[in-house]
Symmetry: C2
Subunit: 343 residues, 2 copies
């Protein structure tokens, strides 16, 4: 049994197929009588308009989510946020994992956009930080929205959803300072990682505001992984002056820190308070559960999707405003006031 087309419905309802089209698209000028008859026919035949054929006549109805990120949870959250918008507004999502280090990303994306009738693109870090890629895409007249976070104010080439890492880093550090911590280590600064820069900047800012000077020895460089978290913590704990709290640049590092501290016999949070960043599942994959910063990725992605869709639908090319997200702390049990001042 073939899939019914609009013409089959028309025949059954004894109207022209154009009228069926009108009913399907909820257009005004159809009498109630006819509308009812057509709707009945639609139901009887179980007719579904052909998305593909539709696309050919109308403006593009697809947007692409381009990413190159090893963090599954992040990607899925993004995806979900975008899909929610797509479903609400009848758009199609094309996911496009790629390799940000490849020379060909630009071409590859342009090709995809061209062939798949894609109207808009959402870029996440680190792809969204690639200025060349962005201009390349803009030159191939794609509508682009970038999701960015970090210390640099984003340029104005295209609308951005900006995550305020500086503010969040500051809030978290402030919180630790308020708890009475004065020796706060910072784990996981990485020059290639924009977010880490922002978070460190906030850390610094909070110290400045409190008139407390930062001990450079407490800032340790490393990767955003559990393994690296353990290594960094080991190095940290080998130093003469012990911190009373650790601000880890993400939850995985924090989990590694928790582990290493325990291995060396420190109690968490009694001996050392530890906080993470991201509110990922990893923040609950340790004990006690980590105080962390919530990144509302689903909302962020939904916002970005709404923006691209807006840009696609808007003919007159009115500029879509960038927007910023402030992050909130998630207080759990990995922090307490410092009891013993380490010597």
């Amino acid at each position: 049994m073939k899939k019914p087309t609009i013409k089959d419905v028309a025949k059954l309802a004894e109207v022209s197929f154009k009228t069926v089209s009108r009913v399907v698209n909820n257009e005004e000028s159809v009498s109630e009588q006819v509308r009812a008859r057509v709707q009945e026919a639609i139901k009887k035949l179980n007719y579904q308009p052909n998305h593909t054929a539709r696309l050919m006549r109308k403006a593009p109805f697809s947007l692409a989510f381009v990413y190159d990120n090893p963090n599954s949870h992040y990607v899925i959250q993004m995806q979900n946020g975008i899909i929610s918008q797509c479903r609400a507004k009848g758009f199609e999502l094309v996911i496009h994992p790629t390799d940000s280090k490849s020379e060909e990303v630009g071409k590859e994306l342009a090709a995809m956009i061209g062939s798949k009738q894609i109207g808009g693109v959402i870029l996440t870090p680190p792809l969204s930080e690639n200025r060349e890629l962005l201009t390349y895409l803009l030159n191939h007249d794609a509508k682009v929205v970038r999701i960015l976070s970090g210390a640099e104010a984003p340029d104005a080439l295209a609308p951005v959803v900006y995550v305020d890492d500086i503010d969040a880093g500051e809030k978290m550090t402030q919180y630790l300072l308020q708890q009475g911590h004065q020796q706060i280590a910072f784990l996981g600064y990485h020059p290639a990682h924009e977010s880490s820069k922002g978070r460190l900047r906030g850390y610094q800012l909070a110290h400045d505001n409190a008139n407390i000077s930062v001990d450079r020895n407490l800032i340790i460089d490393g990767e955003f992984t559990f393994e690296s978290g353990m290594q960094m913590t080991k190095r940290l704990l080998a130093q003469p002056k012990l911190p009373t709290a650790i601000f880890a640049c993400n939850d995985e590092i924090a989990a590694g820190a928790v582990f290493m501290c325990r291995l060396q016999g420190y109690k968490i949070p009694e001996d050392i308070s530890i906080v993470g960043f991201e509110n990922s599942p990893f923040s609950l994959q340790t004990w006690p559960p980590l105080t962390t910063v919530n990144q509302p990725n689903v909302e962020i992605a939904a916002r970005a999707a709404a923006m691209v869709i807006d840009m696609m639908q808007d003919d007159k090319n009115h500029t879509v405003e960038s927007c910023g997200f402030q992050l909130d702390l998630v207080l759990r049990d990995s922090v307490c006031a410092p009891n013993n001042t380490p010597d």
Copy 2:
């Protein structure tokens, strides 16, 4: 500047647009001269064939990945496996997260398949376990491939990619037995979780083969989470007879077990060996890294995708064979021979 169509290319190359189509589709009967001229024109105009219009004439070129799974890493791996096949074979992937508990899943999926010209569907647990959904989809003549794992032999309604949990559970248990463990606890049996049944079955089998009877008290029910892992381990450790090894039903449980053991002062693996299942990032999110079972999700998904594509392309409806995957152990440092026999 408008997107160039096949006709623009034709005009530039001074041939009919049909000839361009032939060049684009790499058909035989085009003279080298003309082909070169057309290709040049294509390059000059940066022409990309319109995927959408193509779809309208040809057989469906899209397949859907339907899932309802809280495990981001799993979903991403699946997605990647499927995408690899789609790219290789020029297919389009539509991802469709859904709610398996909803009454409407079937209708929802049928609607999606109908409207988006989807030729095939890949189902993962728990959706793939839903017989009703499957028959519903088959009745709406969709091509379906299911990814399944567990203790039940899958029915023959549609081709299946089957993950042999029983065998894997048996292998892992055998390994622990070979290390000299006799008191092996099993954490995370859950009646609603097919995989856990299979793994437990394998655990039982290995004991049977070794002529060792299983102590029912060592089998603890629970969820597939870190939190539950901690709880179960707490219960386990409260029992008079301590195990020398713990077989956790997945890595998160195992990580929880590691944590709880440590909290109670047991050393891993010296006092208690612990193994997980899945080889997820969580298995490295603890210390020591977990011995676990590798689930080659990317390959599994790629296989499933290849199968659906096969079914879609094959007109004569030849039956695609189901296939099974055997899993392999990943030996890391969370296991050693039991030193002290607990009393």
